[in-house]
């Protein structure tokens, strides 16, 4: 059955992939993003989710929404996160309900239920804006609670939390790692032995698309999506470096030191940023240090059962695709 689906945040790596998968399945796909999208096969609407009028316009004639648009950053002022991630989500939900949309997939993050301790094989957990770490995770947690609170039999909402999405062209992780490794700014924390789950972009996209087919089973729930192949941080980083033909980092820094330094650097960077001295993200933040030095991998049994879904691209195949992409 072909549906009319709105995808927000389609200019990002994952959003673009989701739009592509849905269009490939024969659905009518409209995208909403701040900059016009280039994919000629899709109807693209330019606009911000913080603009209710633009959102209402994009929602016309739509019966399902995949909401990915968000401010993703390790730094920045809380007001910016609140405006995009919380108020923006509010706009999407209200507009969708007003437009008679049946299904909403809210794309979230496992960090909404991370409180800094190692996670090994845990379930999704409930989002907690109070305890989540950093502005991004806190605002996403609040937005997820908002979204799931709207869930009902005739306005179905599901939250999908892909964990560390990566793939060719990814600026969030892959190219940042490559960048820093190239300039020698990428230490391993505690030898990089922490086990982390990641999600190859095609798998995350297929899981999100699958959620729309399985709303009957998935609605009202938050599901973590990963490749189900946890790897040590060092292996992911060296895999990415290898794909780019850069030597892997060999310097190991104690995690406690990085966490402490991260806090300091983060504050200094923010202060510098406020005075217009730097535009880049800081080289290390407390949140990033925690992410890189503690395990976080998840129990995928429920996700796979609810979605009746399996990832198609393994970590190793993903790395091979990465190498092919960056060799070109």
């Amino acid at each position: 059955m072909s549906r009319r689906i709105l995808v927000t945040g389609a200019s990002g790596l994952l959003g673009g992939a989701v739009a592509g998968v849905l269009a490939g399945q024969g659905h009518y796909v409209r995208t909403l993003q701040r900059r016009p999208a280039s994919d000629p096969g899709l109807e693209s609407v330019a606009g911000s989710i913080t603009d209710r009028t633009a959102v209402d316009a994009a929602m016309a004639g739509i019966d399902a929404v995949v909401h990915l648009a968000a401010k993703v950053s390790f730094t920045g002022a809380w007001a910016e996160f609140q405006a995009t991630n919380i108020d923006g989500t509010r706009n999407i939900l209200d507009a969708a309900r007003a437009a008679g949309v049946r299904d909403v997939v809210f794309v979230s993050s496992p960090s909404v239920a991370h409180f800094g301790e190692p996670i090994a094989g845990a379930g999704a957990g409930t989002a907690d804006p109070e305890r989540a770490r950093g502005h991004y995770a806190r605002s996403k947690a609040a937005a997820e609670l908002l979204a799931l609170a709207e869930d009902s039999a005739d306005f179905r909402v599901a939250a999908i939390r892909p964990h560390i999405v990566w793939g060719p062209g990814d600026t969030q992780l892959v190219e940042r790692v490559m960048d820093r490794a190239r300039s020698g700014r990428l230490p391993l924390l505690d030898e990089g032995a922490a086990l982390i789950d990641t999600t190859y972009v095609d798998n995350a996209a297929s899981a999100i698309a699958r959620a729309l087919d399985r709303m009957e089973q998935a609605h009202g729930q938050a599901l973590v999506v990963t490749n189900g192949q946890p790897r040590m941080v060092r292996e992911m980083i060296s895999g990415i470096c290898a794909a780019a033909g850069i030597p892997a980092p060999s310097l190991s820094v104690p995690g406690w030191l990085a966490r402490g330094a991260g806090s300091v650097i983060e504050k200094a960077w923010l202060a510098a940023g406020a005075r217009g001295l730097v535009q880049d993200e800081p080289p290390m933040t407390r949140f990033l240090a925690e992410q890189l030095s503690t395990s976080h991998w998840f129990d995928q049994r429920k996700t796979r059962q609810v979605l009746a879904w399996e990832p198609e691209v393994s970590v190793e195949d993903g790395m091979a695709r990465l190498a092919k992409h960056y060799a070109a």
């Binding site: 090994a120 094989g121 924390l189 129990d299």
Partner: protein, 876 residues
């Protein structure tokens, strides 16, 4: 939500009863208010008719709170029991009587209470600490009602037994009033005995009735009522109980925490002499408050269930092949060869000494065994007594073993391969009446306080003997018995003959008890499986089989090595031993063979020739890689190479030859061949959660726990009632704790230990196949597969020791990771989350090959959680 008075105690259980006293200490007509916990309201709510009553009696300074788990389990058990846990007078929340109640009073008090409650029907008493004695006093006074006795860390403390040192201190006038009444020191010390420590709210509940010195009067009096000697007013009452219980015929269950500074193992041994019918479980690592340290409710109700099942005739255990038809006692071969002057036992001297081997003929062995048996009997060694042997394999050990077997004494064999701590635990657990040891053994006995009359194997000055606490020497006993026949004990096939200890690589070593019949069956199985005829000769490089040489009628030679450290066997020592007796058979362990190969270049032509005459080589104790066997074959070109599979509880179970191993090829696990003569093997299929159920199958391709049925399987575990119940829960079978499957040709493949099975989202994963795949990578010497993460969603992680030896523990480098991950994925379809390296794997001492995977799993989880990487066991 049930309202709780204290953690784990619903308000409905707590009740007060007015009880007229008949105690001598009270005026006639006195009535006391008792507090007790009674689960009757639960039973009424369930509409359940209880099978009987558990009458639970606490000691000092606890109260009925100690028994809350029993009360809860009594309510919910399939066959429910009423559980009445009393607070003794002057204790807990019962009345403070203002009198000094002695043991006799307390026994009559308890009777007064059960009269007042009108308890009819069967009663099982349950006691702890000093409450054990009082409960036994009640039991003796109510024989017609008594259905059973449960005892936890207690003592009947008869004449001749000295008070435990900790109690002596508590009784000292300087300490007594201060420690028990004026302060709550005695309470706090007792509560602190819990292993692990009590939760604060539990500790508070134990202290609740004893706030204020006046509430603690009973605590002080209780301690003061412990008879230190015959002049004490309670001495007679105590003796009456201590002697009276010898007449009890009801079933007894003793649940014991050995880490108790007061009611230690010696009191358990004393109780077992008085109540020999007792089922015993020693919870290794648990202490005085065993009811807090471990779950005692489940085993108590399992035990009550088992008693009930025994009463129902259909469920009785299949009987042993009874009678003596076809049974040939172990020492019979010695008697038959009493005039044979050919060598029976040969000890190789250290090569460095230049001495000739020591040789004992069959005739000499027979004479010596008889003389020693007579000498041992002179000093009081009786049938059923346990004799611990701390003597290395060779002539002396052989003589001792066969002397004990002739006497009907039970040989306890615990070797240094358990490590000092493990050995100490094993010996204390087995509780020998006698210890025969070389000087080092007796020094250990003295240092660690191992029980038993000490006998030295060797020579020492009288001063040295005194220092070791040795009462006798083997030489002296042999001399005393020379010329006399062994005492006339007609071998009872079903009496205990030996206690052998497991290697302890998977938790504390367990004692496996063999009867004479089962030991003889082990001998017969070996003879039939390997055609070990009388007149053959064997090199005993692997201790357990070495002991069977004389019973088989085979000449046995002990090579120059430290048998407890297999890696000390050199090729030259093996060849010299083989040459000394023209050996046809060699027993060795894989670790010993590895060293033999390593030292093979040192062999001279004569030594090579001696090895070339070997017809059969058995490698036992642990799996051995085919590549290693192939190299061994080059050393013993004429020999058939066999690797029996078995365990301390069943030796051997299956057998396979090198040729058959090659034919079997690569598969899921280690191919161990087919069942040996007289044995049957089956499987209890594995569920997705990694546990084995109660189904039994012999179908090919099904993975399950390996079950063995054979006349030479252990009779039972020693003083491990719970473990024994589990291991024999499928009637007629022994659950080995190993997992494996049969292939289409009926061969058994071992896939690992049940406790090492991973539970991944894809189901249960057994480790051995993946480990073999990892070991196929040339850089890898040894690999272990462990699961990291919660049960059901574990990820597989390979921990490897490399050929070159890693400098420090941590993540493997990229190329090794890739090689191992690829090998495991290709062969087993398993996605490894990580590959970690260790400079050296933690292995057991005895086999030097069994990897402590639970420790490794914990370590791997710590490393992969992030944070600093340390060595296994470094963080605790």
């Amino acid at each position: 939500m049930v309202a709780e008075l204290w953690p784990g105690v619903p308000a409905a259980w707590s009740r007060y009863v007015q009880v007229p006293s008949s105690a001598a200490v009270d005026q006639p007509g006195t009535v006391h208010k008792w507090h007790l916990l009674d689960n009757s309201p639960d039973l009424e709510a369930r509409g359940a008719e209880p099978a009987g009553t558990l009458l639970c009696v606490h000691g000092n300074p606890t109260w009925s709170y100690l028994w809350r788990t029993l009360a809860a389990a009594g309510s919910t058990a399939e066959r429910p029991w009423r559980v009445i846990a009393v607070d003794q007078l002057d204790m807990g929340f019962s009345a403070r009587t203002g009198t000094f109640r002695r043991l006799a009073d307390r026994i009559s008090d308890l009777g007064d209470l059960t009269d007042a409650l009108g308890i009819t029907g069967p009663v099982v008493t349950v006691g702890h600490d000093w409450g054990g004695i009082i409960s036994l006093g009640w039991a003796l006074a109510h024989r017609s009602q008594l259905a059973g006795v449960v005892l936890t860390n207690t003592a009947v403390h008869p004449a001749g037994f000295s008070l435990p040192p900790a109690l002596k201190l508590a009784l000292h006038p300087a300490v007594h009033g201060w420690g028990t009444k004026r302060t709550d020191a005695f309470l706090r010390v007792t509560h602190s005995l819990a292993q692990p420590a009590l939760q604060p709210e539990i500790r508070a509940a134990y202290a609740a009735p004893y706030r204020g010195a006046s509430r603690r009067e009973g605590v002080g009096n209780f301690v003061a009522d412990i008879p230190g000697d015959e002049t004490h007013p309670s001495f007679r009452a105590l003796t009456r109980v201590a002697e009276g219980i010898r007449k009890l015929t009801v079933p007894v269950l003793a649940l014991w925490g050995p880490k108790d500074p007061v009611f230690s193992d010696r009191y358990l041994r004393d109780l077992l002499k008085r109540l020999p019918q007792a089922d015993v479980h020693r919870f290794e690592g648990a202490g005085h408050l065993v009811a807090e340290d471990r779950d005692i409710a489940a085993p108590v109700f399992d035990w009550l269930g088992a008693l009930h099942a025994k009463e129902t005739p259909s469920a009785s255990r299949p009987a042993d092949t009874s009678g003596t038809a076809g049974f040939r006692p172990m020492p019979a071969e010695l008697d038959d060869r009493a005039t044979d002057v050919s060598p029976a036992v040969v000890d190789m001297a250290p090569a460095s000494s230049g001495e000739a081997p020591a040789v004992l003929s069959w005739a000499e062995l027979d004479t010596r065994v008889n003389a020693l048996a007579a000498g041992l009997a002179d000093i009081g060694v009786r049938p059923g007594n346990r004799v611990n042997l701390l003597v290395p394999p060779g002539i002396e050990l052989t003589t001792l073993i066969y002397a004990c077997l002739k006497l009907g004494a039970v040989v306890v064999v615990a070797d240094a391969g358990l490590g000092t701590k493990g050995l100490s635990r094993a010996i204390k657990g087995a509780g020998p009446d006698f210890i025969v040891g070389i000087e080092r053994g007796l020094a250990g006995a003295r240092l660690f306080g191992w029980p038993g009359t000490r006998i030295l194997a060797g020579e020492a000055s009288p001063a040295r003997l005194r220092l070791l606490g040795a009462a006798h020497t083997v030489a002296e006993l042999t001399a005393a018995g020379t010329g006399r026949p062994a005492p006339d004990w007609k071998t009872d096939p079903d009496a205990d003959a030996a206690v052998l200890f497991t290697s302890g690589s998977t938790g504390p070593a367990k004692g496996a008890v063999y009867t004479h019949r089962r030991l003889a069956a082990m001998r017969d199985t070996l003879r039939e499986t390997y055609n070990l005829k009388a007149g053959s000769s064997l090199v005993a490089g692997f201790a357990p089989f070495a002991l069977l040489g004389p019973a088989l009628g085979a000449t046995s030679v002990t090579p120059d090595m430290d048998v407890t450290a297999p890696r000390t066997l050199t090729a030259a020592a093996l060849a010299n031993a083989a040459a000394a007796v023209q050996a046809t058979t060699v027993f060795a362990s894989p670790a010993a063979l590895a060293n033999v190969l390593a030292t093979a270049p040192d062999l001279n032509p004569d030594q090579r020739q001696a090895l070339a005459k070997v017809e059969l080589l058995l490698s036992a104790g642990a799996p051995i890689p085919e590549a290693l066997l192939t190299r061994v074959q080059e050393l013993v070109p004429a020999a058939e190479l066999h690797t029996p599979y078995g365990m301390t509880e069943a030796l051997p179970v299956t057998d396979i030859s090198l040729e058959q191993i090659r034919k079997a090829g690569i598969g899921n696990g280690v191919c161990v061949g087919t069942a040996v003569a007289g044995a049957r093997v089956a499987l209890a299929p594995l569920a997705a959660d990694g546990t084995a159920g109660v189904e039994i199958t012999e179908d090919a391709g099904v993975t399950g726990e390996i079950l063995v049925s054979a006349p030479h399987v252990k009779d039972r575990y020693d003083r491990l009632w719970i473990t024994e119940q589990h291991s024999s829960s499928l009637p007629g079978w022994h659950r080995t704790g190993d997992v494996g499957h049969f292939d289409a040709d009926g061969r058994l493949w071992v896939e690992g230990r049940l406790g090492h099975v991973l539970t991944t989202p894809g189901g249960a994963v057994t480790p051995v196949a993946a480990e073999q795949a990892a070991e196929s990578v040339p850089e890898v010497r040894l690999a272990a597969l462990v699961g990291v993460g919660p049960a059901g969603t574990q990820v597989p992680v390979a921990v490897v020791e490399t050929v070159n030896g890693a400098r420090r523990p941590g993540p493997a480098d990229a190329s090794l990771s890739t090689a191992v991950r690829t090998a495991v994925a290709e062969r087993c379809g398993l996605d490894l989350a990580a590959v970690l390296v260790l400079p050296q794997m933690p292995t057991d001492i005895r086999h030097n090959s069994k990897i402590d995977r639970s420790a490794l799993g914990t370590w791997a989880a710590e490393v992969l959680a992030g944070g600093r990487v340390s060595a296994p066991g470094a963080r605790r």
